[in-house]
Every structure is written in C-alpha cells, then in structure tokens.
Amino acid sequence: MSPVSRGAGGASETTLVQDPALPPVAVDESVLEAEDRRWTPAKIAVWVALALVGGLAWVMLALVRGETVNAIWFVFAAVCTYLIAYRFYSKYIEKQLLKPNDVRATPAEYKADGKDYVRTDRNVLFGHHFAAIAGAGPLVGPVLAAQMGYLPGTMWIIVGVVLAGAVQDYLVMFFSMRRGGRSLGQMAREELGVVGGTAALLATLLIMIIIVAILALVVVNALGESPWGVFSVAMTIPIALFMGVYLRFLRPGKVMEVSIIGFVLLLAAIIGGGAVANTGWGQALFHLDRVPIAWGIIVYGFIAAVLPVWLLLAPRDYLSTFMKIGVIVLLAIAIVVVRPEVSVPAFSEYAFKDNGPVFAGGLFPFLFVTIACGALSGFHALISSGTTPKLVEKERQTRFIGYGGMLMESFVAIMALVAAVSIDRGLYFVMNSPASLTGGTVETAAAWVNGLGLAGVNVTPEFLAGTAQSVGEPSIVSRTGGAPTLAVGLSHIMQQFIGGAGLAAFWYHFAIMFEALFILTAVDAGTRVARFMLQDSIGNVIPKFKDTSWRPGAWLCTAIMVAGWGYILILGVTDPLGGINTFFPLFGIANQLLAAIALAVCLAIAAKRGTFRHLWIVALPLAFAAVVTITASAYKIFSLVPAVGYFAQNAAFSQALADGKTSFGTARSVAAMEAVVRNTMVQGVLSVVFVVLAIIVIITALIATMRAFRAGGGDSTEDPAVPSRVYAPSGPVPTATERAVLDEWKAAGISTVPAAHH
C-alpha cells in the first residue's frame, strides 16, 4: 500500500511526501476507492434494506392517509435518509470537490500547542462539535412550522440538511481547517476583497443581534407569568456562579465532578420550583409579566458579558453541554419506546394560505425561513470555522464531523417536530396564537379555535385549564415562541416513558429549563462575540478599541450590543400583533442569509481551487438559500398584504392613526397602534439592510468565482502544506484497510492515539 499522495486540492499545491521512516500516515486514495467499490453480498443487503425501510417510511408519511401516523416512521425516514446521504452524497463531495489529503498535517498537528490546537479523537470531537452547534434553534423552528402540517417541515428538514445544511458545515469546516482555523469573517475578507468582506462582517454583526434578540424573546415568552419557570431558570445563575468558584478555587479542573453537582442542583431547582410556585411569597416574587422579565434578561446579558468567563460562562457551558447530550439521548429513546400516534394532517389548512395564526406567509418561502436550524443554519458557519478545525486530527475526518454532525442536529429538529405534532391540534393552535386572537382566557380561546373549522379540532375550556394545571402553569393560552409547546409535547412523551402523569409538570419544567439554559448561554456568548467584532471594527478608526482588555472600550461596546438586541427584544415583547409571529421570520431570514454568505464564500474558494465541474454542489444550496431569503425579504418589504408585508402593515396603521381611529385590527388603543407603526418600521428597515448586505456579498462572490473561472483557478489562501506524522482513521469505525494501517503503527511501536485517550 503506497502512502505517497497525489497533490490534492489547490492547483498550486506541490506533491507532499511523508517521512519514509514512519508507517503510512494516509491510506492511498486508490486503495480507499477499491475498498468502497468492493460490494459484498452482505454490504449490498444492508444498503438495500436501509433504502427499503427508508422508502417505506416516506410512503407512510407522505402517501398513506390514515387517521393517524406513528411517530416511528419519522425516525425511520430520517435515519435511513441520513445514512444513505452520508454514505453516498458526502463521499461524492469529498471525492469530487474537497479532495482531502491525509498526508497533509492538520492545524492541530502543525500548530500543536496543547491548548487551542490539540489533536482530538474523531468520535470525541464529533460530540464536542455537535454540542457546540445544537441549541434551542432546532427545537423551536419545527414547532412553529407544524402550523402547516407535519409533511412540509419533515421534508425540508431532511432534504434541506442533506443538500444544504450539512454541505455548508462540511465545506466551511474543511476550508477553515486548510487555513489554520481562520474565521468565516477572515475568509470572506481574503476571498471577496474589502467590499464583500466588510459587507459580510456587518451582516454577521447585525444577524447576531437579531438572533440573540429573538432567542431571548423565546425565553421571555416561556417564562412570562410562570412563577415555577422563573424560579428554576433564575436558580441557574447562582448554580453556575457556585460551579465557577468551585472550579477556580476549590477543585480546579474537576469538570465532570462539578457538572454532576450542577446537574443535581438543577434538578433540585426544578423540583423546588414547583413547591415555591405554590406558596404565597413564591407567587408574589416570581409571578412576573413579560416586560420585567425582558428587562431582567437585558441586565443579565450585560453583566454576564462583562464578567470573567470562569465565573459564569464556562460553568454554564458545562451545564448546558451536559444537559444537551442527556436530553437528546433520552428523547430519542423515549420516542422509539413510546412511539406516539400523530393525528395532525400531513398538510394542514394553512399549508397553502398566507394567513396562519402562528406565523404569516405562504409555504414558499416562509416554511424555509421558519425552519432554519436543523435544515440549514448559517450560524453554524461561525462555529465550523474557528474552534473545531483547530482540533481535527486528519483531513478526511471533516466529513464525519462536519457533515455527520449536522445530520445529528437535523435529527434533533425531527424529534422536536414529532413532539409538537403529537399534542392535540386545538391545544397547539391555542398555545401558539397571539393573545389578540385567542383573547387570553380558556373560554375565549376554546371558542376561537373551535371556530377556525380545522379538522379534528374540538377543545373545551376544561381541557385547556386541565392541561395547564397538569404541567403546573397558571395558563397555557397564547404561550407563543415554541418552547412551551415543545415542553408540553416532550412532557406528553416522557411521562409515558418515565414517571406517568405525576411527572408531567416536572418534565414540562425540565424542558423549559434546558431550553432557557441553551438560550441564555447563546445570549451571553453571542453578546461577547459581537462585542469583540464591534471593537475590532471600531478599532480600524480608533486604534485604542483594538485592545480588548481596555475596560471602557469593552464596556461601551458591550453596552451597544446589548442595547441593540435589548431594543428589539422589548419591541417583540410589547408587540400588539403578538411578537413571535411577526419577529420570528426575521430570525429565520437572518440565519439563512448568513448561510447564503457562508456558501458564497465557499463558492469563491472552491472556484479558486479550479474544481468547476462540481461547483454545482455549492451553487445549488447557495441558489436555494438566496432565492428563499431574497423572496422572503421581498415579501416582507413589498407585500401589500398587511399580515405579511412590514411596510404594508405600517401604512395601514399609519392611515388608521391619521384617520383618527382609536382602535385598529388587533391593536386596541392609540398607543398600541403607534407601537405597531414603530415595530413594523424597525422590522422593515432591518429586512432591507440584511438583504442588501447579503446581495453585496453574493455578488462579490460571483465576481470572484467568474474571475477564477476565466483564469482557470485562483490564488490559494491555504496555509503551506506540511507533511503529517500521525495516522488516524476517518470514520467512526475503522475500515479493514484502516485497521491494517493502525496495525502497522502498532507493530512499529508508535502510538497513534491522540493524547489522553487511552
């Protein structure tokens, strides 16, 4: 087996030769291909079986129209499609477009410092990367999208991740790895020049503000008028502070120990919350309206972003990772064991209309922006460039970690969708429609939802009140934002798995707690990252700001960022039209525009490598993301339907005010009407700015691509190639040839195991 490599990748790359004294540091490409092509009967049988089961599952979901469909078919459809896509499509991308070269050392090897650049076992890094990309996003979007029935969301999550989301994550990770772990912003600057790079930076900054604001809005909506939720989520702060002090002073480095202590304390906070919420003082202290909670989160966000990392962010991160892995594994097992029946139709009455109460707008394009995380999430480009590429051991592993990691997140989104569609349909619409429609009480909400004429919807006020009581909440009417619905769905599934009806309230608050935990960590970290980006930008004009340890600059920039997302959060909380249903599309559009920017950068890089024949792999998701987001933005900017277009809504309310009306639509006072005028203007202007910036980035990327096409390639911005001196298999389980190479290393007496994984 000859380990000598071909010059893979960049046109300018010279052929690398490994140290002949070492066993092979790479399996030769031709050997790998021969192994792939060797179709034994057993292998054929496995893939045929997977294809058949997956196909059957899709038929059950898409074509068979029974009373109900079992949730297990969602799991089969998703898992079989993922496996086939991973085995065939991601390999195709690897072979035709990225051409990794294991003879080439990764940054973790040639820049090894034992701290930031550390070779990490591929399976460990997979878990680490997954924990960094998965958060509350894939849990919320699918819940809202369930308004259109289960099928549109399911199809987009699964097809979208295969052709777009996982491709983006894989490409960004690979290109960043070839550049020593450079960030998306730095790559945009290098590949697209000053104009494209600056537009990308500005867009990223604005998008981070809007994403943090909407995530915070989800938490506020979940905690509003919920003393139990407010108590248990508030307790995460002292718990994290305690963990921080414990790790810093008492027992440094005992991460697992402190995480377990923190987890037990969290459980105690959830259980204690139930008792506290039933006391008079608990009600008085923790029963808060949404506006004070929003202010609380704004103040928290500022303090958390200026406190040292060790005190709050690091311990919160450990807790959040711990919860993430635990909850997702538990939920997957529960869905497989419980196999809930889904009575929601495949396509609902709102699938082909644009006036749904949960979010406005038609299936195209609004389904595709409502579900961002789980199908295609631009935010991942910020994670996939940066930390993970500095830890990858061998180039070929990026397919498993980048593409595979995103498939896992997509599966989380499918589970969230299952949880949302397994609850009563009437209950779903009562929970997710704004109070201006439901009227806010169980009687008005029941009358409203029964009057919608939806199939299978017939709820009684007693049922609504009983559901609220069983999950320990004062009310479940108009609890928008997705988190409470997911919590009800999760509680519904989990209580059948562990604990029975007696634990319904515990599971509900457990779900609220972990969503809040993920979101508050994202708020804190997002503010910090945005602050550094702002300081760096201002630093180009006033150099003093580049010094990130300069307190006044740090505080000022943090305050600007918090004011930015805090303003949008307050607008969302006080929005007379409901908040989530008008603001959530902005979140999705922002996230997808970031994806379009990331894919545009990847397109330019791939073109400069001279791989034009297979450029469609990048161009396809880029075109789709661009069309979806630009169309969605155009609807939001130009639509004449007030429920859809921000400026149409603005004009309608301005006109009503000018006519001297004191109540219009769902706004029942002049102040509320003025609020609508202001909010729609802010939303409209943000939409315009986003879409203009994204179009600039895409155009500069297309220019760079065309230029590379004419020249037959372009300058490579990769780090110089260094021959590798280590070996590790590329997938989760070594293949026969990979095991043979591992044996050669063993025979030579050289450990191939990354440090500390014995």
Binding site: A132, P252, G253, M256, F322, C373, A522, R531, P754, A755
Partner: protein
C-alpha cells in the same frame, strides 16, 4: 465483553464484570473528552512530547495554573454558541 468466556476458576462472572467495567470506563472517558474535562492531561501529553523532542525548556503549568490560563484566554477570544 463475552459472557461465556469464563476463566478456569469459574470466572465467567468476573470477565463479564470486567467487561462492564471497561465499557463504563470508555463511556466516562468519552464524556470527559466531549466536555473538555481531559484538557489538562492532553496539555501535559503535548508538553512531554515537546520535551522529548528537546523543544521545550519551561516546566509545564500546574493543573490550577492551566485551568486559570484556559478560562482567562477565553476572555480575550470568545467563541459563539449556536442557537
């Protein structure tokens, strides 16, 4: 982790127990890796390798120093968490 491969002294159960124990140890090591709890061990490993190659003169950081340095460096180089 075979339940049937007992030793000569009727150690079928001990082998199984050892199997369970090593499986648990593997799960623990995996979780430690994902959480980043093994960062100091990996740093020491790197440091030792550098020393062996004759590239490193300074003594390694102590465990306390290492963790302080780790979180303090995050203060100046924040990483985003996803939504």
């Amino acid at each position: 982790m075979s339940l049937t491969s007992g030793g000569p002294d009727g150690g079928g159960r001990t082998t199984a127990l050892a199997g369970v124990r090593s499986a648990l140890a593997a799960v623990r090591a995996y979780l430690r890796g994902v959480m980043g709890a093994d960062a100091y061990e990996r740093y020491l490993e790197h440091h030792r390798a550098e020393e062996a190659a004759g590239r490193c003169a300074a003594p390694p950081l102590t465990e306390r120093e290492f963790w302080r340095d780790r979180t303090d460096r995050q203060d100046t180089d924040p990483q985003g968490r996803c939504c």
